[in-house]
Amino acid sequence: MDLKILITWLIPLFPLAGWFLWGIFGKYFKGLSGYIASGFVAASFILSVILFFIVAYSHGFTDTLYPWVYAGIFKAGVSADIDRLSVIMLVMVTGISTLVHVYSIGYMKGDKGFSRYFSFLNLFVFSMIMLVISNNLLLLYVFWEAVGFCSYILIGFWYERKSASDAGKKAFIVNRIGDFGFAVGIFLLFVTTKTLNYETVFAAIPSVPAYTTTIIALLLFAGAVGKSAQFPLYIWLPDAMEGPTPVSALIHAATMVTAGVYMIARFHVIFSYSPAASEVVLIIGTFTAFFAAFIALTQFDIKRIIAYSTISQLGYMFMAVGIGSYTAGIFHLISHAVFKGLLFLTAGSVMHGLSGELDLRKMGGLYSKMKTTAVTFIVGGLALSGIPPFSGFFSKDAVLADIYNKGFYFAWIIGEITALMTAFYIFRLIFLAFFGEPKPDQNKHAHESPQIMTIPMIILAVFAVIIGFLGIPPFNDSLFYNFLHTDFKNAYNFAPFVNNTPWYILSLISVFAGLLGIYAAYLLYIKKAFDPERIKSIFKPVYVLSYNKVYIDEIYNFLIVKPLLVFFDFLWKVIDVKVIDGAVNGIALAFAGFSAKARRIQNGMLMSYILTLSIGAAALLLYYFIR
């Protein structure tokens, strides 16, 4: 076997082996399982980097490990499609997974589900790797569901807590809605093109009628909306913060939730041949970016703030892929994975230091007690706000500049406002938590986390600074763009550039928006130039709306959950109890009566059994004879 093919299949093999090992023999390894699991994922990471350079200096390839389902024209193998997009995703997924694994050793220390945790985490990494490298839609769908399942078990990891298991169920059920659309989209795609392999599908798409392409693209996008937590299916992500924080960092910030963006970038041919569907992607992305940032403004739970920020940043990525700027979307995906993973890990470190405290109102002045955490958090916050030279500046501005230059001015304005709000809410969090006076009811024993947790944070912080430089010279001439854009050469250019505004003007506006947000947070929470309470009372309706998350959960409860409950109540009380139970009991009674008669045949006499047997044989022969 070729070396690169061997490497390709070794990458998912390591986490899979880890899953088996910790799942079955976990209790014999005790604390060791964390270290070995991290080692396994690190091995995958090193192999991914090797594969990255192989692909970067030669070209992509496909390989089939074994034919999985070959039935008639339906062909789907366990096969990998390694191109530049998938190696970038591989390096990102395995790299962040490695750091999160190492971090988890410290974070989960002493938990009784230690080995179970690492088993699930390894299973997730395996599924995510397979999702990224698969080369047909069936395999993609299988692992699309597998990562959703891992997300479910990891959100509900502390299943003794009702809120955690409820959050897991909520994530699973909400994802189900999107995945239903996704599955139907795959069926439709198969019916239309008679194949599920990427290459053949993409080759067939240009000749498919536009409205069919649009329907397929919209159905696939429904899956992305569910998985990537976009409006209106975003509601599971904030609740998913019930899981362990490293899980939030890995699954609900860096990797799984970006699968939707990856999927659209991967199926860029389908989406670019349907401008209408792309427009829907853009609208949903823009709205979600603004909406989630608006909710994040007033929340007090630090993990929820970051969760809403994730939803908002995912909105940016969907804006990028919605206008056909796939490289910009993927670039923002990568840099967001780094700095959002960093923010979650540091938030976890704060929780660790304050023994699980999440409420901003009970924090203050933590800077002096946890310096590493505070510094890395600020790095993450600056990257999120898009302040140069941090990575968020390059990636977010690449997205926003493309939006402007392609003539989507309204989306651009919303994007800039969102950037302002983003900078405000993240620095509101920083100023409230790390500066100012310690709060009276604060945990007195706040302490820095152990090194095994801080080192991954520092590494991520370093990357949050330097990864942005892949984006120079900015925008459509950058290293990253030149590396990746060949993968998207088949895309139909449905949104050509209409402006040629130079990048520095556009970034100046974005940076200004970011700085304005930071300054506003500074004025409100450090200088206390205005009393936040007064601002609150002036904008009371807006504040209440944001604080209560625009009542979306309540609206869903009223519009969907309540009627369903009434309907299911009817199903239970009338259909189930009366009709189905009645039928089942009736059948059971009939059989009881019949068997009371039939048991007489069972008289226990061997001779009569033999006799019956011979009569049966004779009758059977006769039947075949006269037939």
């Binding site: 006799l611 011979s614 022969l621 004879f625």
Partner: protein
């Protein structure tokens, strides 16, 4: 050949009937041995001397000796007087006759198949039937052969367990 076939057929069917009808199981067993010898005669006619030898060695030699031994082991006067019901007999005869008629009908109406193999009489005679069987048994049928040996081993253990005084 033809004459031998009819002689053997007569012996086989007669002794088979005797096996079924004799009151004393010991008599039945001896008639069964006779029947086995007649079948061995058929095998000789059909060019399978090796099988004939096996038939006599294993069936007549080993299995029937075992049966006779068990009959001796049990109290013969107590097992001699086990009577069958009359209606059972009538039904049994009826069913066997029907079964026989059906099978004969099948044999007569069945499609005649052309010989498809290569092992003609002449070839088997030239190579020797023992060598032919041996080669097949130890090449193409080696796996069933090994499994059969495991089966025999299991049977030894099983028989021991059943015959033991207490389970």
């Amino acid at each position: 050949m033809e004459a031998l076939f009819y002689v053997f057929s007569f012996i086989a069917i007669f002794s088979a009937l005797m096996v079924v009808t004799m009151r004393n199981p010991l008599t039945s067993a001896l008639y069964l041995v006779l029947c086995f010898f007649a079948l061995a005669g058929f095998y000789v006619i059909l060019d399978m001397q090796f099988l004939a030898a096996m038939q006599i060695l294993v069936y007549a030699g080993a299995i029937m000796v075992l049966v006779v031994l068990v009959i001796m082991l049990l109290n013969i006067s107590r097992i001699k007087n086990i009577k069958s019901d009359l209606h059972q007999k009538i039904i049994g005869v009826l069913i066997s006759l029907i079964l026989f008629a059906e099978i004969v009908l099948y044999i007569i109406n069945g499609a005649q198949k052309r010989p498809s193999g290569i092992f003609t009489h002449a070839l088997i005679k030239r190579i020797g039937n023992t060598q032919v069987i041996g080669e097949f048994l130890f090449t193409g049928y080696i796996l069933p052969f090994e499994i059969a040996s495991i089966l025999l081993f299991v049977a030894i253990i099983g028989a021991y367990l059943f015959a033991k005084k207490k389970f």
